[in-house]
Symmetry: C2
Subunit: 156 residues, 2 copies
DNA sequence: GTATATGCAAACTGTTTGCAGGTGA
DNA sequence: TCACCTGCAAACAGTTTGCATATAC
């Protein structure tokens, strides 16, 4: 999907909901889709603040929280719960659904998809009488580079 | 595993860590293993308070948080992140590892195990160079009884 | 023009922590 | 005895909210 397509769909989304396209919402939208990484609301606020050129660009903490929530509601961002206590977001463009590997040592997040797991999940939900709306599979462990580091420290 | 066995292993755990078996820890331990359900720290505190007979039984909020954390560290309780913002706990006795189906409508939690999914996860971690320490698979959806209720409301 | 958004700061929720006094080994 | 525990209340982090002002439509 091209950027302008999703931008258009964002504007449509606002329109149908009777919401206004403000300078802040536009900036937040653009930034969220320019970033191909996971981020927290606070990190995101930091980026916006850092990139602030004129006073007119200012976006407040409250608006960041409100707008990220809005984008998640609209399906433009996905909420990703890493168990750290903070909400992580990631945009949906290009990414199709995927699950996460989380390094508990450095916080690094990698993505993966496994069709067979997806199928098995659907089957399990069905057999329990659940109508599946979403799922969240997180594999926690130590990533390659942290393992290497740990090894070096021990032998040193 | 019998209750007295796990109780013994809890006492051993405290001993090896140089921790004391206090009235409060004992009460919390007993209650946690008497309850075969998931619970949050606040709910748990509520139970303890409700069951309080004499003043000597009192357990404070801080102690509940501290002790549930302790029990989780010791592997007596498992921390379960439902995405609700609160930590949920469940005891480990009898339960072997399992994953969860969560009803987003009523909060109901069901458990399941799927060996094939477990294997696939291990394989994925391996192929990404991760050393897997744990995982968390949550299937979110609408449970049978909520779906029934929803249907009734629509047709009514 | 006016309903909707924003920024600010204060409120809130779940959880942690410092400290003075209590208690188990 | 004395280190460890507890209860309390205050601190915390992340997030939400009420309100007066500003702004998109």
């Amino acid at each position: 999907m091209k950027h302008e397509t999703i931008r258009h769909s964002f504007e449509e989304f606002l329109k149908t909901k009777g919401l206004r396209l403000t300078r802040q919402r536009s900036r937040i939208f653009e930034k969220a889709f320019a970033c191909h990484d996971h981020f927290t609301a606070e990190t995101f606020l930091g980026w916006l603040t850092a990139e602030e050129v004129s006073k007119a660009d200012r976006v407040s903490r409250a608006t960041v929280y409100r707008t990220l929530g809005l984008l998640a509601d609209g399906g433009f961002l996905e909420l990703l719960d890493t168990g750290s206590g903070e909400a992580h977001y990631e945009h949906v463009l290009g990414h199709r659904h995927h699950d996460h590997l989380i390094c508990t040592s450095c916080g690094r997040i990698e993505e993966f998809v496994d069709e067979k797991i997806e199928e098995l999940q659907a089957e399990i939900a069905r057999s329990h009488g659940f109508e599946l709306t979403s799922h969240d599979l997180r594999l926690m462990g130590i990533c390659k580079s942290c393992r290497r580091k740990a090894k070096t420290n021990v032998s040193a």
